[in-house]
């Protein structure tokens, strides 16, 4: 269906603005590079199914490359397979394989250099150091790309989808695995990343720096070496994503370093060593998320300021919140904590006793990591109760004065999270009390 639609689109396109060149193993044009050399701007190159040994095709005019029956362009380990320079090129429905790795250059399955408004769709890159790499290529669209990396060691592999100085791009429904970083953005602002899956990458599932005003929606980041790390950006929106199964000594569901005026809303953090780790982040809102079965649900270092933690659900985390200072500016209100032991006499759904999410034992573990071996010891539980009754070590002002008695996520979502389905997307819903 999709293929037929694409073909109809291409036929309409070619009827309007160019010829169709066919490439197949028995045709006059046997190599894609020959077809590119013959084509004039606006032409469509249809590549029939088959395997084409290829080395470094440079597309420097607005062409459409359309695969029929998923042809394979095999770089043979010699370098970048397709390089696009200039605006308006489209690549669709092909498989790009085997770039090999070089320390001297970024070898990519498909590389876009200073190309505006190009698109890559329904493409699979296999065994490429970089899957799809965009350099100074604004307003491009990468859709339905599946990038499977080499699985080599971190220092000898590249990123699945890599954007450098490429503004206003859209990365949609991509699946990236076994690369160094799954999705990588540097100096790329105003991009939208939606419905992607980034898993089993060696370092980060998502990694961006200096990329302001990006929107991340409904993505899944799972089992990545160090989880997700985002740095030095502002006005970032991360909505309805899943961060799961990132375990390890320096592994985070989501690491926010110097992220400001951003929103983390409606995400699910499940089974991470640290769900959200915040360092030097300010004026960031964390709301309507579900934190479940993490080691630490949230770690906010003292360098953070004016962040808000409102209306989240905390289930079955070993430690809920940790701050390394006794003074914390984290504004914490109206969350659901499964470890809350208060009561609600006026039955308005909000506990009458404030909840202190930082336990004294988690502070000890932060200072002396090996103390974690005393977890669930009787004396430690006793200390926690005492400290909550009469706080002296835990940050006194880090307190949820309106802890909710029931989860905030819609019941169906809460149930599915409890039943262990991390893939259920959380509909973003603002509760009326949050407006007060």
């Amino acid at each position: 269906m999709k293929g037929r639609f694409a073909l109809a689109f291409v036929l309409a396109w070619s009827a309007a603005s160019g010829d169709v060149l066919r490439v197949c193993p028995q045709c006059e044009l046997r190599r894609v590079a020959d077809a590119v050399a013959h084509a004039v701007p606006g032409d469509t190159i249809v590549v029939e199914s088959g395997t084409y040994p290829t080395s470094h095709i440079v597309i420097d005019k607005p062409l459409t490359i359309l695969g029929k029956g998923r042809p394979v362009l095999d770089g043979g380990g010699t370098g970048t397979v397709i390089e696009i320079r200039g605006a308006g090129a489209h690549v669709q429905n092909i498989v790009v394989a085997n770039t090999g790795y070089s320390a001297l250059e970024d070898r990519a399955g498909i590389k876009l250099i200073e190309s505006t408004g190009s698109s890559i769709s329904d493409v699979e890159t296999v065994g490429c150091a970089f899957g799809v790499a965009l350099y100074r290529s604004p307003s491009c669209r990468v859709e339905n790309v599946r990038a499977i990396g080499t699985g080599a060691v971190e220092s000898q592999s590249g990123n699945g989808i890599h954007l450098w100085k490429s503004r206003s791009c859209a990365i949609v429904r991509c699946e990236v695995m076994q690369h160094r970083d799954g999705l990588y953005f540097e100096f790329s602002s105003g991009c939208t990343i939606a419905e992607c899956i980034s898993r089993d990458n060696m370092r980060y599932g998502l990694h961006f720096m200096f990329s302001d005003s990006n929107i991340y929606r409904k993505n899944r980041f799972e089992r990545n070496g160090s989880g997700v790390a985002v740095m030095y950006s502002q006005h970032v929106q991360m909505v309805s994503n899943v961060f799961a199964d990132n375990w390890g000594p320096s592994s985070y569901g989501l690491l926010l370093k110097d992220i400001s005026r951003s929103v983390v809303e409606g995400n699910i953090f499940r089974r991470n060593t640290v769900g959200v780790y915040m360092e030097g982040s300010n004026q960031t809102t964390i709301t309507a998320n579900v934190f479940r079965s993490n080691g630490w649900a949230l770690k906010a270092l003292g360098s953070c300021s004016e962040d808000t933690l409102v209306g989240n659900d905390f289930f079955a985390n070993t430690f809920d919140v940790l701050s390394n200072t006794s003074f914390s500016e984290l504004v914490c209100n109206g969350n659901y904590w499964d470890q809350y032991r208060g009561y609600d006499l006026d039955r308005d759904g909000i506990g009458d006793v404030p909840y202190r999410p930082v336990s004294v034992f988690s502070i000890l573990v932060e200072r002396v990591p090996m103390a974690v071996l005393l977890l669930r010891s009787f004396i430690v539980e006793l200390l926690a109760y005492m400290e909550r009754a009469i706080p002296s070590l835990i940050p006194a002002q880090l307190v949820d004065r309106h802890p909710r008695l029931a989860p905030i996520a819609t019941p169906a979502v809460a149930d599915s999270v409890l039943a262990g389905d991390p893939y259920q997307q959380l509909p973003v819903r603002r509760a009326s009390w949050m407006e007060r």
Binding site: T273, F315, V368, M370, L374, R376, I379, V380, E381
Partner: protein
């Protein structure tokens, strides 16, 4: 050997008929029912049960086993007047008593699992059994070594208080005060010196919190990252069971009743 088995059988039935022991079983059943019937998350129910068992089983085992030993003093004297080896008598009595207490743990835990099925039954039962063995051995060492019943039971309770509460309190204080120092190896040794801690760490390694150990230093990670750690814990716990029993046997053989 046959004598030991016969003695074990009689000790088993005598212990399991005791009202206190039945109460112990009912108490465990009550705890299981209370935490399972709420329905909660299986991993949480498991951890709650294990935490409670780590407190209750050592205390009850220490006291019941010690009391059983003291209450049977006259029976012991009668038996030892017969041509029965002291070794056979000692092991038979101990095995029978411990088996009765073990059954009182296993039955309610298995039944609770059959009804609600929301905890890791193997982990919970293994913990209960190992704790019973360990503190049964310690109880015998205390009771055999102390002829006075009141003193003996007092010492047994002190052993519990020391292992369950005091020891960890000292460890916490030590870590808070000496946080600047590399205490990792020392901590490993210190944890092995308390059976409750050794068993608790084994449970931690098995539950989800195991990944938390990822945050600890290289020494612990190297130690706990492998199956070796479980073998080491098993060895430590076997020593905790074996050494007091053998010491107790030595004292028992030489005692002048």
């Amino acid at each position: 050997m046959n004598t030991a088995l016969l003695l074990a059988r009689s000790a088993f039935w005598r212990t399991i008929r005791s009202r206190v022991v039945v109460g112990y079983g009912v108490g465990i059943a009550g705890i299981v029912a209370a935490f399972s019937s709420f329905g909660g998350d299986p991993s949480k129910v498991t951890l709650t049960l294990v935490s409670l068992l780590l407190l209750i089983v050592p205390l009850v085992t220490l006291i019941i086993v010690a009391i059983e030993y003291y209450n049977n003093r006259e029976f012991t004297e009668l038996m030892l007047a017969q041509p029965i080896g002291r070794r056979a008598y000692y092991w038979g009595q101990w095995t029978g008593t411990i088996a009765a207490l073990g059954v009182m743990c296993i039955v309610p835990l298995t039944a609770g699992y059959a009804v609600w099925q929301n905890y890791d039954v193997v982990l919970v039962e293994t913990t209960a059994l190992v704790l019973t063995l360990c503190f049964g051995a310690l109880a015998y060492r205390v009771a055999v070594g102390q002829p006075d019943k009141a003193k003996g039971i007092g010492i047994a309770m002190l052993v519990w208080f020391y292992c369950a509460v005091l020891y960890d309190a000292v460890l916490v204080a030590m870590m808070a005060l000496l946080e600047e120092y590399p205490l990792e190896k020392a901590l490993l040794v210190l944890l092995a010196l308390n059976p409750i801690d050794a068993i608790r760490v084994a449970v931690l390694l098995h539950s989800d919190s195991a990944a938390l150990l990822g945050i600890t230093g290289a020494v612990l990670r190297e130690f706990f990252g492998t199956e070796r750690s479980l073998v080491a814990i098993a060895v430590v716990v076997s020593i905790w069971i074996g050494y007091p029993l053998l010491r107790g046997e030595r004292i028992f053989r030489r005692r002048d009743f």
